[in-house]
């Protein structure tokens, strides 16, 4: 069936980033999308901590401890980058100036509701960071996640069970098995790996529609480091 590995999912998501977009990549897996952008696109990567124009990771010997992204990674700046304070950074996010954000998620509902933070991790305090701002206010919210949980339970659902991050915000979901759009008619599969439609539906907690031009989901080989 050749499900995608998690870096292949980020690769697939990265292919949809269009030229000249302003993009915020969520902490964790989404941030790796920047490694797989199509070579012809020129985009501005924004990070919630105020960096407008994130460049590649810094070489360890050239890193400045204060030049970091929202995920505390030591980064470089692209030419023409600037750094604003937190209130400007979130004014930019909340004001609709981010064209696309790509976020990790636990669950996505057929109406676009997103659950990607959780207050209920045992023995751990909650953590929300900037996820709610990005989910509620980016012009387009795309999600990267495994199609099912470790226990095999679906993550694409009629209704989220976990606490919501934002309502009706997700437009597209990239999983290891499929690329699924969230539409007024619910989930529409645009691409899927070589499994049967029934099998994909069985792993999904809400009805799937299949696009008339539904394609095979493929990605180049990318090794996932340990």
């Amino acid at each position: 069936m050749s499900a995608l590995n998690r870096l292949q999912i980020t690769w697939r998501a990265a292919q949809d980033i269009a030229d000249h977009q302003v993009v915020n990549l969520g902490i964790g897996l989404p941030v790796h999308c920047s490694d797989y952008l199509r070579p012809e696109v020129d985009v501005i990567l924004q990070s919630e901590n105020g960096v407008i124009g994130v460049g590649p990771l810094a070489a360890p010997d050239k890193a400045d401890t204060d030049l970091v992204d929202a995920g505390s990674r030591r980064i470089t700046l692209r030419p023409g980058a600037s750094i604003v304070d937190s209130s400007w950074s979130f004014a930019m996010i909340r004001g609709g100036h981010i064209d696309v954000t790509i976020l990790g998620a636990f669950e996505v509902a057929a109406n676009g509701d997103l659950a990607n933070w959780d207050m209920r991790v045992p023995n751990r305090g909650p953590l929300v960071g900037g996820a709610m701002d990005l989910a509620a206010c980016a012009r387009e919210v795309r999600v990267i996640m495994e199609h099912v949980t470790r226990n095999g339970a679906p993550r694409l659902l009629e209704q989220c069970a976990l606490p919501l991050t934002a309502v009706r915000c997700v437009s597209r979901v990239y999983t290891d098995l499929a690329v699924v759009d969230v539409t007024p008619q619910g989930f529409v599969v645009r691409e899927m790996v070589a499994i049967s439609r029934d099998e994909l539906q069985a792993k999904t907690g809400a009805p799937l529609t299949f696009a008339s031009d539904c394609k095979l989901l493929t990605a180049p080989a990318i090794a996932v480091p340990d």
Binding site: D113, V121, R124, G129, C137
Partner: protein, 220 residues
């Protein structure tokens, strides 16, 4: 008399009292005023409310204030420790010994900006329909639902910057800036911890926070 806001680390927190609401800068690994945090712990005021992005961050000493039981409440966007063992915040929170107000990060910074900008409350779409805004006033403008959020003001801001001058103008190193401007603006007393104080006034292009907002500067 020429304005001169330089003080020693000893004097930096003079006047801070029990029950104070304290802003602490820092996010993403940059901009933690760790010398001032430790000076605050040593001074030992009780029943503090901390307004800080993370209750626990690898590079911040905020957790020391919590471990010393000086803190009654934390207003933050992240309350998760990074070690296998629960953090000082998490153990106290789970035991019901410390209060937590979780705020989405953009709402967090905008509420603080509002506090410094004379705005008592504003509406935001962020958090609508989620647990974090339960009980808050919801209002529709146009086709969308918004939540009313109130300003946060405080007694003390601990701000990390790179360079100051004697009039309190601040320049930040890269992403050190984060919450510095809004937190300084919303506090009755803003104290900046800097790498160095310039004898000459900072050039206009370098000033990222006017000294009007800064009461004391400490070179560390």
């Amino acid at each position: 008399m020429p304005i001169d806001k330089r003080v020693s680390l000893n004097e930096a927190l003079d006047g801070v009292t029990d029950g104070a609401t304290v802003f602490i800068t820092g996010f993403g690994g940059a901009g933690f005023p760790n010398k001032l945090i430790r000076a605050l712990r040593e001074r030992g005021p009780k029943d503090l409310t901390l307004v800080v992005n993370s209750a626990t961050h690898r590079y911040s000493l905020t957790h020391e204030l919590i471990a010393a039981d000086l803190v009654r409440k934390v207003i933050c966007t992240a309350a998760r420790g990074h070690d296998k063992e629960p953090s000082p915040f998490e153990t106290r929170w789970m035991a019901g010994q410390i209060e937590l107000e979780m705020v989405p990060q953009g709402t967090f910074t905008e509420r603080i900006r509002a506090g410094g900008a004379g705005i008592p409350a504003f509406y935001t779409p962020v958090g609508f329909g989620t647990e974090l805004t339960r009980g808050k006033e919801v209002r529709r403008f146009g086709a969308r639902d918004y939540v009313m959020e109130e300003a946060i003001t405080g007694d003390l801001a601990l701000v990390r910057a790179d360079i100051a001058d004697r009039t309190g103008n601040l320049s930040f190193n890269y992403a050190q800036m984060n919450f510095g401007p809004v937190m300084a603006s919303a506090a009755k007393l803003a104290v900046a911890e800097v790498r160095a104080v310039s004898d000459e006034p900072l050039a206009r292009e370098r000033i990222q926070l006017p000294g009007v907002y800064v009461d004391r500067v400490v070179a560390v």
